[in-house]
Symmetry: C2
Subunit: 143 residues, 2 copies
Amino acid sequence: MGKAPRNGKILAAQTMERLRHAGLRPTRQRVELASLLFQDCDRHVTAESLHDEVTEAGVKVSLATVYNTLHQFTQAGLLRQVIVDAARSYFDTNTGDHQHFFLEKEGVLIDIPGEAISVAGVPNPPPGLTVERVDVVVRVKRA
Amino acid sequence: MGKAPRNGKILAAQTMERLRHAGLRPTRQRVELASLLFQDCDRHVTAESLHDEVTEAGVKVSLATVYNTLHQFTQAGLLRQVIVDAARSYFDTNTGDHQHFFLEKEGVLIDIPGEAISVAGVPNPPPGLTVERVDVVVRVKRA
DNA sequence: TCACAGTTTAGAATCGTTCTAAACTATTGA
DNA sequence: TCAATAGTTTAGAACGATTCTAAACTGTGA
């Protein structure tokens, strides 16, 4: 269980570029977190799960920094916050148009492609208000 | 600013019956809270807002009891919990099929009738999972 | 009226999250 | 290359919503 850099150099370089583009100074911590978040497929994390993950990877990042970073990434449009559970916040690496299944018991989110689902008949909001976003959460449980 | 019982007797009697029906012993506190919640139109409350309200009405109910009661009412099907805000839980006296506008800044929920809105194209959930409910939140802001 | 199961309560505890202020570091310009 | 500095990280305290605890209280049925 060493460092296993593999193509880490290239990845890190790409990640740093991406952070710079977002106006974020590419610090060690942000690069580490971004690499975990954006390397593969779409992911759903909580501050704690990401902190555990980065810690298990042998990297020391404080929980406060994980929180800061998640919010900064969200503000930069790299992440999207998903509110489905009163107990904790989820962050989604898929920032495109899509919705979610949510398995409450297990705290698991599953993407539903935006093209698949459609919401019709949303009334005009009361005067003076404009629609920012329409969120659909399909709450599921084990049969 | 007295007691203002008006038709309070009748209301209280109805409320007690309703609670009994739900399998809840009609204590002073539960009757008070139920009267506030169910007397008029549909309402959206948080534990704190309801506690403030009952307190201002000159009735002494502890915050813990408000929390307990909201959960008991929810379990009994008298209320529905609405998850739209990471910071606090809302409870809705409208337990029928409907959705919500949510004005984040002000913490305001507005009902959208269930007949108005329709969600199409929800994929089958992954094997072993069944749909419990589909929640739609239309996030709005002041124009 | 009594006994008891169910309920309420104050206050402590918990949990996720945010804040604070001191130490650290990426960047820039000399 | 190196300092100056603005931005970042961090441990730990603080916070706010919620839950827990265990002791006091109260509907209810006999």
